[in-house]
Symmetry: C2
Subunit: 189 residues, 2 copies
DNA sequence: TGAATTTCTTGATTTATGTCAAGAGCAGGC
DNA sequence: GCCTGCTCTTGACATAAATCAAGAAATTCA
């Protein structure tokens, strides 16, 4: 079983048979560091699965880049609003390192439903799961200090800190790079 | 067409026929001010539609109540994680005023799929829409000051400010009641 | 390898926001 | 209608985090 299949099985709880049907729709795509998978304003007509590498989702507001999230192996990358509702994409999605993705285009994505009858249900549950993750994330902003948010990210995603430029992690945590730098110093000793 | 039907049609883009099939599953429920629709730790086996009144979703952390959202007419209230994944509910849902709800229990909810074949697809799109709303909300915490967040809420949800205790709005905006009070003073003059 | 560029850290300072405490305003229950 | 609690505001102060500026460290790339 490929990594992609493993993750799909975990995320969607499909049978082994359906699994290979689904994964057959995905095609490997290589992104070089700094390549964009998607740019704001374009139409997002494909969904990517991160097989390896790091990829950043961000938006530029008043000349400042706000990093919403950094996806690592096992994450899907997409602008959901654009992919599902045919809106202009709001997010830039850019490789932080060379990346291997498995990509499905929208046409093929719509085929999955024909092949696997329960697909809309599985999809719904997956998106609902993502929704609850965002609920938690909002809660961290309502109830935690910058320091607590840093500690939490460091505890659960330590690997990011030696692979991702700290300025991006700072942005994703809702603080300035200087503040993150000081919290790290304080925390490490 | 009832309010409920109007909102369902808006949210889910269903035919008029399907609409009445769906709405028939909902039963009216009255909540008195301060009644709980759901409490943390319980299992959320029903979904409510707010026909009138105000209802607050909150969680208690370290003895402090954090208000996640305040739902007004046209919103659905539910702990999605509990309703779909059979987990213990994370949110308290409590009436801020007397409320009229239309409520569907989980058993009936599962019937909708039998009556309306495209239901999982419609549901998926609705949840995806909610997901993008939360994405935006996270962005406000990453890119805006407390003052900007207040101004935004005041601009787009003015009606909340004379109906909801300000301490709850403050919490929902991620600031203290004192800060909100000062921002209001500053803003009004 | 070494120059150029970017990223990170640090210090000084300012600003935004939180905390604590007191009192004013309002609302609900008797 | 009038207590009794809540809720909101205000002030004084403390703290967290942002900003600005400079230099150190790391990375990129020729």
């Amino acid at each position: 079983m490929t990594e992609l299949e493993k993750y799909i099985q975990n995320s969607f709880a499909v049978s082994k048979e359906d699994l290979s049907k689904i994964s057959a729709f995905f095609k490997p795509v290589l992104l070089k560091k700094n390549d964009h998978f998607l740019k704001t304003g374009r139409y997002c007509d494909r969904l990517g699965f991160v097989q390896s590498g790091l990829i950043r989702e961000y938006v530029t507001i008043d000349g400042k880049e706000i990093t919403k999230w950094i996806s690592t192996q096992g994450y899907f990358v997409v602008d959901l609003s654009s992919f599902l509702f045919h809106r202009a994409a709001r997010w830039n999605i850019q490789a932080l390192t060379d990346c291997e993705l498995y990509v499905i285009d929208q046409k093929d994505y719509q085929q999955i439903g024909n092949v696997i009858p329960s697909w809309p249900e599985l999809e719904k549950l997956f998106i609902a799961k993502c929704f609850t993750v965002l609920e938690d994330r909002i809660l961290t902003h309502l109830s935690m200090t910058a320091e607590q948010r840093y500690q939490q990210l460091f505890t659960y995603n330590k690997e990011l800190f030696n692979q991702v430029p700290l300025q991006y992690l700072a942005s994703m945590l809702g603080m300035t790079p200087e503040t993150l730098s000081r919290l790290r110093k304080k925390s490490i000793g």
